[in-house]
């Protein structure tokens, strides 16, 4: 062991240690996700009374527009968003995401067939959100909702499309 090998290995040793202890946090900071703002809030969709009863033959599911507050990292935005509301009775109301679980198009209600139909690839869903026909891997995504003070509230979330499981996108 010479003096020169000592200084060489010392330089290389400390140099590599520095690279690792600096490199690890730097890489972690840009490849891993932060847990921030995972919690989503309920948005008010308005009074329950004003929603049509979808189970009366002359009526149909209602498309409701609302302002959805989104936390995008450090910016809080208000996005116009819409949902489909199916009302059986004033206490039994289901809210569906407007996104077709097949590939993410926005589906519509076919008044004559009494079914939801996606214009992109012809996925067809019943009024209960179940797949009737077409390429859709799962039924319509129901959103969590609640009724308080005669108002309907919904927690708007987005789900991964194209897979059989209903998985929330953070």
């Amino acid at each position: 062991m010479s003096r020169r090998t000592f200084f060489k290995s010392a330089s290389i040793g400390i140099g590599s240690a520095l690279t690792i202890v600096l490199g690890y946090p730097l890489i972690t900071s840009i490849v891993s996700k932060s847990k921030a703002f995972a919690a989503k809030v309920f948005s008010n969709l308005g009074p329950v009374n004003s929603i049509r009863n979808s189970f009366i033959p002359s009526e149909q599911p209602t498309r409701l527009n609302f302002s959805n507050t989104v936390q995008d990292a450090f910016i809080s935005k208000i996005n116009p968003e819409q949902v489909w509301v199916v009302k059986k009775s004033p206490k039994n109301i289901k809210v569906y995401s407007p996104v077709c679980p097949h590939l993410g198009c926005r589906y519509n209600w076919d008044e004559e067939r009494k079914q939801f139909i996606c214009p992109c690839h012809n996925s067809v869903y019943s009024i209960d959100g179940k797949v009737v026909s077409g390429p859709a891997p799962r039924g319509l995504d129901e959103l969590s909702s609640k009724i308080e003070n005669q108002n309907l509230y919904v927690k708007y979330e987005e789900f991964q499309v194209g897979i059989p499981q209903k998985t929330v996108i953070d």
């Binding site: 062991m1 010479s2 003096r3 020169r4 000592f6 200084f7 060489k8 290995s9 010392a10 330089s11 040793g13 400390i14 140099g15 240690a17 520095l18 202890v21 600096l22 946090p25 730097l26 972690t28 900071s29 840009i30 891993s32 932060s34 847990k35 921030a36 703002f37 919690a39 809030v41 309920f42 948005s43 008010n44 507050t69 936390q71 990292a73 450090f74 910016i75 809080s76 208000i78 308080e148 003070n149 108002n151 509230y153």
Partner: protein, 648 residues
């Protein structure tokens, strides 16, 4: 094959020759720990560049999001605290290293012929470093940075003739705003670093031409050592230590969250960064028409001193003992800067008697009562007068009055506590506490000091203690939670303030002005609210169970909706309603953020808590252990070598 590839590459890109030229150097007198200052500064410059680029992945240079984006990086991004911390502390340590490097070069006379240009390039780098520190402070657009920039650009504006143009250039107009931030961003992240990089290269090329000066004595210069790997290893031992120091500072002494910039804040005490305090202090000596002496004559005179140094000191000898004139001059200069820096640290701007400083984001924890003789006397008064019959401290005592274990955390003034003890009804008309007016002034002082010092046993969470308050008012926690829940639905979404990390000290002042009249001094609550179901205005310490959360972001969002949109208490005809401070713009979003940080602090939650606080400490311990292991290994290795050589 490998050799062939190497040849192919080196013929086209002679990197190896360049690296050899940089590393292959003989140091007169051999390697030394004195020579690490330059390399350490270079290492810090590199760290600043890397952590600076990494911050760009998150930072946004706009006045409405600069603060929230840097807070987001520091709190929510994994290792964001480290990236920001290294950059913040790195800038401070770099300033110290640059100063030490200059002093070292000055003492060794390393600026003498033929190294004058190396020195002058170094002076340029000193000015660029100052420029980086000045422009960098503005970028988070927080209270301290904003006001330091306001003052700094204002000073530039007082320079005769060119001042107004310089100020207009820096601010992008006559007042501070978005253009100012954009300019400081461009200067700090592009122009100055690029210039500094080029000049560093020139500085190194010039340095490599004649190399190190070496020891003062001619005889000692005969023996030479290698730059690579000997000096490099020594440099790395020191830079490794600096890195561990930076991690420690970032993990245990993070930069304060001074709250978002509030240009309307008249109470703020603007002061520049410590590096510029000597200039700031000097300015005060020159008033009115003589102001230009402080703003331009002295700074230019200082720069001139640096420039003429190599041309004045022309003696061949490098020994400081033979250059006593220069040494005395240098010492006077250093003392002058030091004294004015210290004066600047201690000074307060004239005509501003509101004493508020936001250098810390948490109100300091006082010492334990056992360490103070007065507080110990207070302890015996507490026991003699039977306070423990009603109050609990450290888990023992009665339950009629509030638990006083963490009284010091409520930041009550001496006056407030004294009045509370002598005349409790002055604060709480329905209080059952007897008046202890028989206590002498000294006894009262001792008791207050006792209450305001730290007591053992960890604080119970407000969620536990809230039941006590509910018991007093006759409302079950269930109905209270239900009440809150019902209210929440109506309230809507949290506002911008919920994503801003406020400053506790500023929030405390705002709370006293805007909130204390209903929610009580320091959020104790208890004012009556006729016509509402619970009959009182809710306390904010301890805060309602349903709103409390250990997660600061969640806690802030929970209370933010009330401050933003207001609320009407459940009940037939509530007299008092919570006003919509956010929606009505009665308070700005930064102000609401500060108040929220204060309410969280009352409830023992730190608004600036990073997302994974334990990871910061673990990372420091790993880094420190790794460094110590390496050092131990080097010492053992070194001893073995010396033993072997001795054996021969």
């Amino acid at each position: 094959m490998q050799q062939k590839n190497r040849n192919w590459l080196s013929e086209r890109l002679p990197l190896g020759r360049f690296i050899n030229a940089m590393l292959d150097e003989k140091i007169p007198g051999g390697p030394s720990f004195f020579y690490v200052l330059g390399s350490a500064t270079l290492f810090l410059f590199f760290l600043q560049v890397v952590t600076g680029i990494w911050q760009l992945f998150y930072y946004v240079p706009t006045v409405d999001h600069a603060y929230s984006s840097s807070s987001y990086l520091r709190i929510h991004v994994p290792y964001g605290w480290l990236i920001y911390g290294i950059h913040y502390w790195g800038a401070n340590i770099m300033a110290v290293l640059v100063a030490l490097h200059i002093i070292r070069v000055f003492i060794w006379g390393a600026y003498k012929k033929p190294r004058e240009l190396t020195w002058l390039l170094g002076v340029m780098l000193l000015l660029l470093t100052a420029g980086l520190i000045f422009t960098g402070a503005a970028l988070p657009w927080d209270e301290t940075g904003y006001w330091a920039t306001e003052v700094g650009t204002g000073i530039a504006g007082t320079i005769p003739v060119i001042g107004s143009y310089l100020e207009a250039f820096l601010r992008g107009g006559s007042s501070m705003g978005q253009i100012t931030l954009s300019r400081f961003f461009a200067l700090h992240t592009a122009l100055i670093p690029a210039l500094a990089f080029i000049i560093i290269v020139f500085h190194l090329i010039a340095f490599r031409k004649y190399g190190s000066v070496g020891p003062w004595k001619e005889s000692k210069r005969k023996k030479t050592g290698d730059f690579w790997p000997d000096q490099v290893a020594i440099d790395l031992i020191v830079t490794g230590f600096i890195f561990v120091l930076l991690v420690w500072l970032s993990a245990f002494h993070p930069a304060p969250f001074t709250g978002p910039a509030d240009p309307a804040d008249a109470a703020f005490e603007p002061k520049p960064e410590w590096n510029f305090l000597f200039l700031y202090q000097l300015l005060k000596l020159f008033k009115g028409p003589y102001e230009f002496i402080g703003t331009i004559v002295i700074p230019f005179f200082i720069i001139l001193l640096f420039i003429i140094t190599p041309f004045v000191d022309k003696k061949v000898s490098h020994s400081p003992l033979k250059r006593m004139g220069m040494m005395t001059g240098g010492l006077v200069f250093v003392l002058f800067i030091l004294i004015y820096t210290i004066l600047g640290v201690k000074s307060k701007p004239a005509g501003n008697n509101i004493n508020i400083s936001v250098s810390s984001n948490t109100i300091k924890k006082p010492k334990s009562y056992t360490s103070s003789p007065t507080a110990m006397k207070g302890d015996s008064i507490y026991n003699t007068y039977g306070c423990a019959a009603c109050h609990t401290i450290s888990g023992s005592g009665g339950k009629i009055g509030p638990d006083l274990t963490n009284e010091y955390m409520r930041n009550r003034s001496v006056q407030w506590l004294s009045l509370q003890i002598t005349n409790s009804k002055a604060h709480f008309p329905s209080s059952v506490m007897p008046d202890y007016s028989m206590l002498s002034k000294t006894q009262l002082g001792n008791l207050v000091e006792y209450l305001n010092s730290a007591h053992p046993e960890a604080a119970k969470t407000p969620a536990d203690s809230v039941t006590v308050n509910i018991a007093k008012t006759g409302i079950t926690s269930d109905s209270l939670a239900a009440y809150t829940k019902m209210q929440m639905g109506k309230l809507g979404a949290p506002g911008e303030a919920a994503s801003i990390v406020g400053n506790v000290v500023v929030g405390r002042k705002l709370f006293a002005i805007n909130c204390a009249s209903c929610h009580g001094v320091e959020g104790i609550g208890g004012d009556t609210n006729y016509g509402s179901e619970i009959g009182i205005i809710p306390a904010l310490y301890p805060v309602n169970k349903a709103l409390y959360s250990q997660n600061p972001t969640q806690f802030t969002e929970n209370i933010d909706v009330f401050i933003q949109h207001g609320s009407v208490p459940v009940g037939a005809y509530p007299v008092q309603k919570m006003l919509d401070y956010g929606d009505s713009n009665s308070l700005t979003q930064p102000q609401i953020a500060n108040i929220e940080a204060y309410i969280l602090n009352l409830n023992h939650v730190n608004r600036a808590q990073i997302e994974a606080p334990e990871s910061a400490k673990i990372f420091f311990y790993i880094t420190a252990i790794l460094y110590l292991t390496l050092m131990l290994w080097l010492i053992i290795y070194w001893r073995i070598i010396n033993k072997n050589q001795h054996g021969k």
